[in-house]
Structures are given as structure tokens and as C-alpha cells.
């Protein structure tokens, strides 16, 4: 009997998620906005992430092999935007295009269904979590990530990434991963947890801005905004709303097609929780 009831409940929840575009019975729905016009590509977020999340420095040989562990990476493209009607010149007229890329925390994540042991799963906060202890290292999730944002421990990096006393810096709130485990950006889940716990102890709701990811915290231009999408007063919700990006769709319907918000590879229906705001260039 309970089986039938569960099934009906699941089904109605599923229907509602289709009707109401990305509806989840979530307590929080962590999301992010990155303003590519403000991002200067300075890399501070990336190093902050190394510091916060015990990311291993792999050294030049392994980096050359593509085994680096940069959860937050700044990509740099040289494409000249197709704006204005200038002829192609032999200089980089509009500068570079920087793209901060970290796990997009997809709500319809391609990595989750393929994990044989459910080490990649979705938390009730809308996070795309990775359970290190459960991971057997099949690496299927990374193969199926269109953003290529999952990083694998090809070695026991702890053996030589933190010669003493560098190891004293390691954040005790999270683990140091051993070989054979997949890892990726967690939206600084340890900070979310501790803030939620603190709020619970004080019997109150988590306030917008209370949880800051390491990258957001350090971003010199405040290009990264992080918060709870379900909280209608949060900055991140307001920005999503303002730029008319919403969950639950592969093509954003916008009153004004010039609004800057977009999600990366939306057409793949991965439902990322990160909205990027288009870069702006004056001509």
C-alpha cells in the first residue's frame, strides 16, 4: 500500500516539477550568478578554492598530463566578439574572454544517474554532491559531464603535495582525498553545513549572504553572487529573476532577448544552478 502511495506521491511531484519549471521540495536551492563583465580573470577564486578545499598541487609533470585539480578554473578564450562592424585586425582589440568554470551543480545532472554506486547524488538543498567514501572510481561521471568539471585523484596526491609544514594548512572541515576518488566543486558545502547548523542552533532561517563560497568571498570585483534561489529576497534570486533565467527549461523565454543571463549548454537539459551574465564590450 505504501508502495502505491509513494509511487503516486513521486509521480505528482514529478508532474509538478514539469508544470512549475524546476519545482523541488527543497529547503534551499543553492544557486550562483557569475557576471562575466565584472570577472577580470584574476584567478583569486581559484587559489581561494585551493586553500579552502584542500586541493592538491600536482606539480608540472602531472599538470602537463592533464591531471591538475583546479575545481575552479578560469578559462581564457581569444575569440573576438561579433559586435560592431569592425574589420578583423591583427590585435586582440576587445581583450580576452574569461570564463570561471566550476561544477555547475546541475539539477538534472548527467553525472548522477551513471554512477554505479550513487556516490554522485543530489542533496535536498539542490546540490550535486559527491560522496568520497562511497566512490569506487569508475570515472563514468566525469566522462558524462559536458563541462568536464570533475577531477579524479589519479595519485595519492597527499603523499607529496603538502610537505611539512604545508600540511598544517589543510582544512579540517573537509577531507584530503586519497587516490581513486572523484572530486569536484561542492559550492563549499562545509560552509553551508556549518551555517545551517548555526542557524538551526539559534532556531532561525539562514540569512542571505550568510553562506559565502570561498571563491565568492575573495572575488575582488564581486562578480560571483551565491545564495538561496528559493529565498525571494536573496541577491541571487533577484539576479536570476532580473535576467529572466529560470530552472526547468532548455530555452529561456525572455521578454527581452537582450537580457544577459544564460546557463552554459542549456540545450543539453542539464539544468545548471549557475547563471552567467554575458560579457559586455563597448564599441
Amino acid at each position: 500500500m505504501s508502495l502505491v502511495r509513494n509511487f503516486i506521491e513521486d509521480w505528482s511531484r514529478y508532474r509538478r516539477s514539469i508544470d512549475e519549471g524546476g519545482f523541488h521540495e527543497y529547503e534551499h536551492m543553492w544557486g550562483m550568478v557569475i557576471d562575466l563583465d565584472k570577472c577580470t580573470g584574476c584567478n583569486a577564486c581559484s587559489v581561494a578554492c585551493y586553500a579552502e578545499n584542500n586541493l592538491a598541487v600536482v606539480g608540472e609533470d602531472k599538470f602537463e598530463n592533464g591531471q591538475g585539480m583546479h575545481w575552479m578554473r578560469i578559462e581564457r578564450y581569444w575569440d573576438e566578439p561579433n559586435i560592431g562592424n569592425e574589420r578583423v585586425r591583427d590585435t586582440q582589440e576587445h581583450g580576452a574572454s574569461f570564463m570561471p568554470m566550476m561544477c555547475q551543480q546541475c539539477n538534472s545532472a548527467t553525472c548522477e544517474p551513471v554512477c554505479p554506486v550513487s556516490a554522485a547524488y543530489h542533496t535536498p538543498d539542490g546540490l550535486n554532491a559527491q560522496i568520497y567514501n562511497r566512490c569506487v572510481g569508475s570515472r563514468y561521471c566525469a566522462n558524462n559531464c559536458p563541462y568536464r568539471l570533475r577531477y579524479f585523484n589519479f595519485f595519492s596526491y597527499y603523499e607529496d603535495s603538502w610537505p611539512s609544514p604545508l600540511d598544517m594548512q589543510l582544512n579540517p572541515d573537509i577531507t584530503v582525498r586519497d587516490k581513486g576518488v572523484m572530486e569536484k566543486c561542492t559550492f563549499c558545502v562545509q560552509r553551508i553545513r556549518s551555517t545551517k547548523n548555526a542557524a538551526k542552533m539559534e532556531d532561525r532561517q539562514v540569512v542571505d549572504g550568510e553562506v559565502q563560497t570561498a571563491c565568492q568571498q575573495t572575488c575582488p570585483t564581486s562578480a560571483i553572487v551565491f545564495g538561496d534561489l528559493l529565498d525571494h529576497e536573496s541577491d541571487v534570486h533577484k539576479l536570476w529573476h532580473k535576467h529572466q533565467t529560470r530552472l526547468g527549461t532548455t530555452k529561456q523565454k525572455k521578454d527581452n532577448p537582450e537580457l544577459r543571463g544564460y546557463r552554459l549548454y542549456e540545450q543539453l537539459n542539464t539544468e545548471p544552478s549557475v547563471t552567467y551574465l554575458e560579457r559586455v564590450r563597448d564599441v
Binding site: 554506486v117 568536464r148 589519479f154 576518488v181
Partner: protein, 478 residues
Amino acid sequence: MAEETHLSATKDIDEKIAWAEINSDVLRSMENPRMGYWLAVVVSICMLMVGVASEVYQYNVGMGPAQLNNPHMWDLYISTFVFWIGMSHSGTLLSAILHLFHADWRKPIYRFAEAMTTFSLMTALVFPIIHLGRVWNMHWVIPYYSDRGIWPNFRSPLVWDAFAITTYLTGSVLFLYIGMIPDLAICRDNAIGWRKRLYTFMSVGWRGDDRQWRNFRKTYLLMACFLIPLAVSVHSIVAADFAMAIMPGWHVTSFPPYFVSGALYSGCAAIITLFVLLRYFFKFEQYMTLPILDKTCKLTFAIAMVWSYLNLIEFASVWYGHDIPAKEVLIAKFTGPYSPFFLGMLFCGSVLPFTLAFEKIRRNPMLLLPISIFLNVGMWLERYMIVAPTLSLAYHPWSWDVMWPGWVEWGIVFGSFGWFGLLFLIFVKVFPSVSMYEVKEMVYHRRRVVYEDAELRAHEYKKGASGASSAAPATEGS
């Protein structure tokens, strides 16, 4: 006399072979290993040791020395896994499918083909395990009751793989074993020492009485019917590893049939290779005759064409579709750094089989040995070309990367051939690699039941002889 030799070249089997001769020929092959056999065993063990050493190193150090990297999370391990799974389809094809189709020319060669199925599955099974970053936790993929109430993720094709492969392995081992019981009884009756004990145990009291034969036939038929959908599903599920992903070049609807045809193809090619080798080394010319080889080659050719066709429709659907990343992957396969391998695969897989269109080649074991090996090289490349280019080139250009396998990966792939070879070598000396009772059946039918071989008739017709019998072909005894 010239007439006789020609006939023997057209007949599947010489019906004049005596029962005892069949027994003694097959049993002889199981005894007195020569120098060459021991040499082969030593070579296989050495190859296996290379693989084991590589795996021990990898176990201790991690997946890094295999040169796997961020876009290339899978590489040779998974492609070689698919290759060995493919090899495993030959036995099922020959014994189960042809059994249902009453193609009795399969009888002298199905035994070793089935053994090949089992052993290549056992080889294949190793790869998804050793490719795990944390091998020691591999049992988590299996649904077993745990205090923590944690189950594997039933949505993951890798879990389906685990089910499909273990089921198929069990099925094919049973099928091989059941089909061998009457022969094991013959062995039992002719053996002494440890072999006697082994065969006595394994022949489970086979006396060859009527009830046993009837039950045996039923079981065998049932197993054949059971195994065919299993074989198709196993490779469809392996195909799902890729087709269920969203990566360009993997997310292809036609992958399951494509994989199954590729599997049958590589299996047939492997049968030809082993056919030629066994025929030569064990002097099985009387049983593994050239007409049977000819038929196997025809079958291989037909499957090669199906495979090529499926290749072409995949290219066409990508080319005429509007999936730009998929198109990029396709173009990169033809022109990118992997193109020598891709073009090599197309040559070995789609051009080389046309040599099998010629009867002279189909009946020339010396030529067929290299050809069949190259067909399998092509099929191995096919699997590599499924795995690697997509990983090197997918949606996100920043992570595009071309990667070549490291020594650990090569070592383990190399070792897998040693493992397979060793298992097979042990098999041929312990178990009859030609089915004695079924060859006898075949000879019996040729001798007693008026059985019109189409080729024979054509031959007679060509000769202008009018002696063709008009008796209706009797049903082949089950």
C-alpha cells in the same frame, strides 16, 4: 581418386570416419603436450605476469601512470573490455544460434568457440574491475544486503554491466559444460589417474541411456534459447555504457545493434584464427575441414557487411543531423590525430573482409590466419575509436585533449591476451576441443540419413551426373 579428393574438398566431413578414430583423434589432442605447447604456455604466463605487475603497480600508485587524465577518464581499459566482450559472442553464435538453425557444420568447431566465449568473458570481466580507481571496493557495485541499507544505483549502465556480464558468464559456462557432458564421459572411460577422477566427477554419471539423452537434449536446447537473448542483451548493455551518456559520438541510438554486430564479427574472426591454429597444431584436418572454414568465412563476411552498414548509417545520421559537437567528433575521427587508427579500423573492418568474397582465399588457411587477425585488430581499433575520440573532444573545448595510453595500460592490455591464451591452452589439454559425440552425429547423418548437401548437388550437377537422389531431406536428428 582425383574425384575423391575433390569431393572431400566440398564435403563438410568425410562420412567414412570410424567412431573409434574420432575418439582417438580427439583424445590424442589432449595428451602428450609437445615442446611447442609448453613454449606457448610459458609465453602466455610471461604476458600475464606483465599484466599482473602493471596492475600491482597501479593498485599501489593509482590510475595516474596509465596516463589517464581529465578528459580521458576511460581509455584502453574500457575499449579492451568491449573488445573481449565482443569476442565472447562467437561461441554463442555458433553453438546456440546455429544450433537452432540446424546448421550442422557448426558441430566440429563449436566447442572451442564456446570455450573462447567463456574465457574472453573471464578476460573481459577483469577490465571493468581493474579500471576502478578503488578496486578494493568493487563489490559495492553488486546489490547485496548491507546494514547501511545502501544499494547500487540501478540507473547506472555500469551496474547493468555487472549483472549482464555475470549472468552471461554463468550462462555460457553452464552451456559449455552441459554440452560437454557426453564427451566427458568418453574421456572418463579412456582416462587414468587425476584425469579419471576429474572426468568422473564432471561427467555426473553419464551412461548414455535414453532418458539421459532426452533430458540432455531438452536442457541443451533450453540453454541455447536462453543464451541468445542474453548474448544480445549483454552487448546492448555494454553499448548502453556509451549510448546512455550524452557525449557526442556516444549518444547514438544505433549503438546496441552496432555493438552486437561488431561483437559477432570479431567473434567470427577469432574463430577463424583459432580454427586455423587448432587444425594445424592438433592435426584436426578431418574434422575442421575446409568447407566448414569456408562457411565460417561466409558468415564472417555477411556480419562484416552488416557492421559496415551500421557504421555508414551512423556516419550519415551524424552528418545529416544538426548536432555540431557530434559532427566535430566524426570529422576529427577522419582527420584528427586519431585518424590513422580510425582509417585503419575502416580498412581492417570494412575493406579487408572483401577478401573473403573469394573462394580461393576462404579455403586457404595460411592466408586466413593473418586476415582474421587483422579483422580483429580492426575490431579492437573500433572499440578504441569509440572510447578515445569522444573523450578527447566533447562539448567543452577548453578540456579538449589528445592522450596516448601509458605503459601501465599497455601492460594490462598485453597481459589480458596472456590470460586468455593461458586459459585456452589449459582448456585444450584438459577438455576435448572438438565435440566427439556431435561429430559422430554429423557423420552418422551424412552416412545414414540421406542428406542432400546443396554444394554437393551443385557439384554433381556441374559434372552433368544424373545420380542425384530425389529423396526428401530428412530432418536432422536433434
